[in-house]
Amino acid sequence: MHEVDEFLSKMGSKIGLVINKKKRLYFEVENGNLHEVVTYLFKDLGCRLSTATAMEVYRGVEVLYQFSHDASGQYFCPRVVMTDKKKPVMNSITPIVTGAGWIEREMAEYWNISFTGHPRPEPLLTKNHPRGEGLGQPFRIRRTS
């Protein structure tokens, strides 16, 4: 739990609602603080980005990054919620974590999220396919949680 305490002491003022489970720390972060939090997780704590998950919730569109601290098995999960469901915009973390490139491009296609500062903001799955063939927001079930 040393990593969690260290993270909360350094980044506690930058994050919102925290859910602390066994080896899982879910927390909300404002878009403006995302880069600072991710830089700390990736560069200072040495976490690895497993993936990111987007979903539509009652407050808007949510992106949940899942960072693994491999040395301890602890997960850090920053959550960004964009309230504008029609034009969700948030900062890209790909300039900090190269490995986020594909998943952010994929989320942009599925949920129409604009990732500001992404080095290659082009479709990943539908680059050479007709747009909307089996993919895209209209094809997902809209549910709330």
Binding site: K21, Y26, S50, T51, G73
Partner: protein, 395 residues
């Protein structure tokens, strides 16, 4: 710059899944690579959100024919993580046993294919010959040689019959002795070494930046292995070593997989020993899953398989995210393929073990503005091995 573009895919014998790589060549040197996926989207996540948790296990089992234990195992870990559900000790050993048998057969499959791609067909035939008894073990345990249907939330669905354990031990002893032979052949062969050492290097920093997982990362000196980092099931109760190399080339990726296979046989033996003595139930009765979110992962043969579920108190997930290891390993080609000869591109692309298929296809330039080159990338790869073989042995 006088460059040519060489497309690999979307359907190619190298790739089990349909993926599309575009290599930009300057002479025989790869100067750039572009990756294009999305040719085989099957909508598992969305389908899963319409299924019950138990039905989802059968669904994700069919994401990959090779990892047909890894996905269900990560899936049940995710659901169990929502409520911190514990499983019986006997079930833990059965899960680990099946997971490690899958690692052995997957690594043997890759070792054989890698040998075939560079024209080393003896290695191919050996590896695939000794993969068959492992599939026999699956049949003894579950009744199926693939898609075993073993995993359940709260435990496992099938037990290992005590009277079959000695038979299983004999098979694993035989495979272990043959694996030592293959390991010796792979590590001592001068042609194989000359062909693979220094080829397609992925530096440690690149592996970290791209968040690579599994043997791809461990061959570059990155310590990442879910079995050690978060020892689920019986991994905290068995003895094994994490195999890590330093150079990040194709040879080290081969060495990691060969040595991991030997570690897996060690784990399988320990699990079988324990199954003779540890008695009791194999499944806890889980009646409902409460509202929440859970992360499940498992160290598949290709690296970490990641599943995330969000639940709302019903018996279906609100969100089910699946991330296979190839999804994070394939982008590393942008680091490992640049600057290498085109003859090495095939084995470098294969070195992360993206899913293979047996569809045979030739490679042609499809850019209508250029003259077709008609390059057979497989032939180039095999010719280079033959050239090294002649240099080593003469003739």
């Amino acid at each position: 710059m006088n460059s040519n573009v060489l497309p690999v895919g979307p359907y190619h014998p190298l790739l089990e899944e349909a993926e599309y790589f575009t290599l930009t060549l300057d002479g025989e040197t790869v100067t750039d690579i572009d990756l294009d996926i999305g040719w085989m989207h099957r909508g598992h996540e969305l389908i899963s959100e319409r299924k019950t948790f138990t039905q989802s296990i059968y669904l994700v089992e069919r994401i990959c024919g090779i990892c047909s234990t890894s996905h269900p195992l990560a899936c049940v870990h995710a659901v169990e993580d929502v409520d911190n559900i514990e499983i019986p000790e006997r079930a833990a050993y059965i899960r680990t046993l099946v997971g490690e048998l899958e690692r052995i057969h997957s690594h043997l499959l890759w070792i054989g294919l890698a040998g075939h791609f560079i024209g080393y067909d003896t290695l191919w035939m050996w590896a695939w010959k000794y993969r068959e008894p492992i599939l026999d073990m699956f049949e003894i345990i579950s009744g199926n040689r693939n898609h075993y249907g073993v995993m359940r939330v709260g435990g496992v669905a099938v037990d290992v019959h005590p009277e079959r354990i000695s038979e299983l031990k004999k098979i694993v002893d035989m495979v272990d002795s043959k694996m030592h032979m293959i390991a010796k052949a792979a590590k001592d062969d001068p042609v194989l070494k000359s062909r693979l050492v220094g080829v397609g290097v992925l530096s440690k920093q690149d592996a970290i930046d791209y968040c690579a997982v599994g043997p791809t990362a461990r061959a570059s000196g990155v310590h990442t292995d879910v079995r050690k980092d978060e020892p689920n099931d019986a991994y905290g109760m068995v003895d094994f070593n994490e195999i890590v190399c330093e150079n990040g080339d194709v040879y080290d990726k081969l060495v990691v997989r060969v040595l991991e296979t030997l570690e897996s046989t060690k784990i399988v033996r320990q699990c079988l020993d324990k199954l003779e003595t540890v008695k009791g139930p194999i499944l806890n009765n889980v009646k409902e899953i409460s509202m929440g979110e859970g992360i499940g992962r498992y160290e598949a043969p290709r690296g970490e398989v990641f599943h995330y579920v969000r639940t709302d108190g019903t018996n279906t997930p609100v969100r089910h995210k699946v991330r296979a290891p190839s999804y994070v390993n394939i982008p590393t080609f942008q680091a490992s393929c640049k600057g290498i000869p085109v003859a090495d591109a095939l084995i470098t692309l294969a070195s992360v073990d993206p899913c293979y298929c047996c569809t045979e296809r030739s490679i042609k330039i499809i850019d209508p503005n250029r003259d077709p080159l008609g390059i057979d990338i497989m032939k180039l790869s095999r010719d280079k091995t033959e050239q090294i073989r002649r240099e080593v042995y003469g003739g």
